[in-house]
Amino acid sequence: MLTASLLPVSFLSFLWDRLNVFATVFLGIFMEAVPYLLLGTFASGLVEVFVDREQMSRWVSRRPAAATISGAFMGMVFPVCECGVVPLTRRLFKKGLPLSAGISFLLAAPVLNPIVVLSTASAFGWGEMLFWRFAISLGIAVVVGLIFSFQKDTVQVLRPTLAGEDHQHVHAEPNDPAMEKVRKALLITVDEFFDMGRYLILGAMLAAGLQTFIAQSSLLAIGNGPVLSVLIMLLLAILLSICSTVDSFVALGFTGAFSFGAILSFLVFGPMVDIKSVMMYLQVFKRRAVFYIVVLPFMMSLLAGLIFNYFVK
């Protein structure tokens, strides 16, 4: 009798403990990401009211290669991480940014921006890790961007709301006075924060849930071989869902246990793909396109990690 009545109590307290871990991890990811998401959505609001389609077509090269490469470097001007880059890219598509440039921006900007340069340098120093992280991220972003440049029909790639008519509640007019523009930019920021924030929240919940129930130590215990270690770090990048501005400090924690190639692949792939960013990608791109945006960087990061493990370090 006694044990029968005790069992549910201990089970409940087990669940309660797990719920607490879940809540702490979830709020951790959320509080960490919210400022960056706000930054990205605000940038998107400013682009909406201050940039028009004609300006965009003047700025961006018509040649796919040039547009793709300049897209990859746009992060130096818009310092956004992987949460903020999605609404901004969506906005730039609306303003007529070519697909290839948008994709390379989306993939490269979370790494190729001043904040991440500094955070990576403060974790690993101005050395090889920094150089290869940026070189390989740039390479992957440009290659995927160029692959998408063969797709001339954006309707195949972008969600209908983007390719076609506009359901936006707030409309910017080119000759609004400055205060009016700021007011509209703030309202657009709000709408996008709600629009994108829900996928951040769902993604953070999934990541926190997985972290609460899957033992990270068991994942780390598997990975030691030159292939497995890279695969484990890529999986971890997806699972942890941490912001690209701080992931170098997390990666630093794995330097003893993992090879240079494995850590590098974590630093390259993590900013491009994780649970919350995939949920946000699905709001901008059709599923087939998201598949390519996830799988191509995965394969290339894996390849980069393997090359380093086998031939360099």
Partner: protein
């Protein structure tokens, strides 16, 4: 849902989120979730959320005024926005309010694991720790020292004074326990526990997860194939949970 009602909920949720951040900041709980270096950024986010809430509320006033001034022109603009984004935004608010805040403790060990030899920071950091008084070093400092210094025997007999929570592990002897802390680089999502074994004759009187200050002398032992520091305790005292429950590398 009518446009204005949708806007009202948006405004309330933004204000609510901002207040949640204020509440956590005032209670000193922000560092239960994120590394202290990101606190300025969180404060910025909190202020910006309040600015956005204000922008939404003034938009509602504007549209109401517009309706009073031009009742004949007034019509609801656009499609009714979907309410799901409102419900989802309610989730962090509900979790933040309904589940009592608690820093990560031993109940997260199953999933997050714990480590007695954490290779955390580049080796040049250990030189700084080397120079600090042995009683000033925290658990992370000790583990770093044992990780990076070739000769750990030199630390044997040094005085140690660390704060952490109690963790019992089946592999330890009866008169031993772990004194443990979580280490956070970015946010609670990347947190993992580090621990030092402690030799203490009254170990079985301690409670799991109780915060203690351990004073004693360092001993070097081999655990799972690596050299780790053990504290031979002279005193183990119960203490309050520290303001910053985590260590930041």
């Amino acid at each position: 849902m009518p446009q204005r009602m949708f806007r009202s909920f948006q405004g309330l949720l933004l204000a609510g989120l901002s207040l949640l951040f204020v509440f956590k900041a005032v209670n000193g709980q922000l560092t239960w979730y994120i590394n202290s270096r990101f606190i300025p950024l969180t404060i910025l986010g909190m202020v910006f959320l309040a600015v956005l809430a204000q922008a939404v509320f003034s938009e509602i006033r504007r549209s109401r005024k517009h309706e009073q001034d031009h009742p004949e022109h007034y019509h609801e603009h656009g499609h009714a926005p979907s309410a799901t984004s409102l419900w989802v935004m309610l989730i962090p608010l509900a979790i933040g309010i309904a589940i009592p805040a608690r820093p990560l403790d031993s109940s997260a060990f199953d999933s997050k694991g714990f480590n007695t030899s954490a290779p955390l920071v580049s080796s040049d950091i250990s030189a700084q720790i080397f120079e600090t008084e042995s009683e000033e070093r925290n658990i992370l400092d000790w583990l770093k020292l044992f990780n990076y210094e070739e000769d750990v025997i030199q630390f044997v007999g040094q005085k140690a004074s660390v704060v952490g929570f109690v963790y019992f592990d089946a592999t330890l002897d009866k008169d031993q326990f772990y004194v443990s802390r979580f280490v956070i680089s970015c946010c609670a999502a990347d947190g993992f526990a580090i621990a030092m074994p402690v030799q203490w004759s009254q170990a079985d009187a301690l409670q799991q997860d109780a915060w203690v200050a351990v004073k004693g002398k360092i001993e070097a032992i081999t655990l799972n194939g690596s050299r780790v520091p053990l504290i031979v305790a002279e005193s183990v005292e119960a203490v309050e949970t520290p303001d910053q429950p985590y260590l930041f590398p």
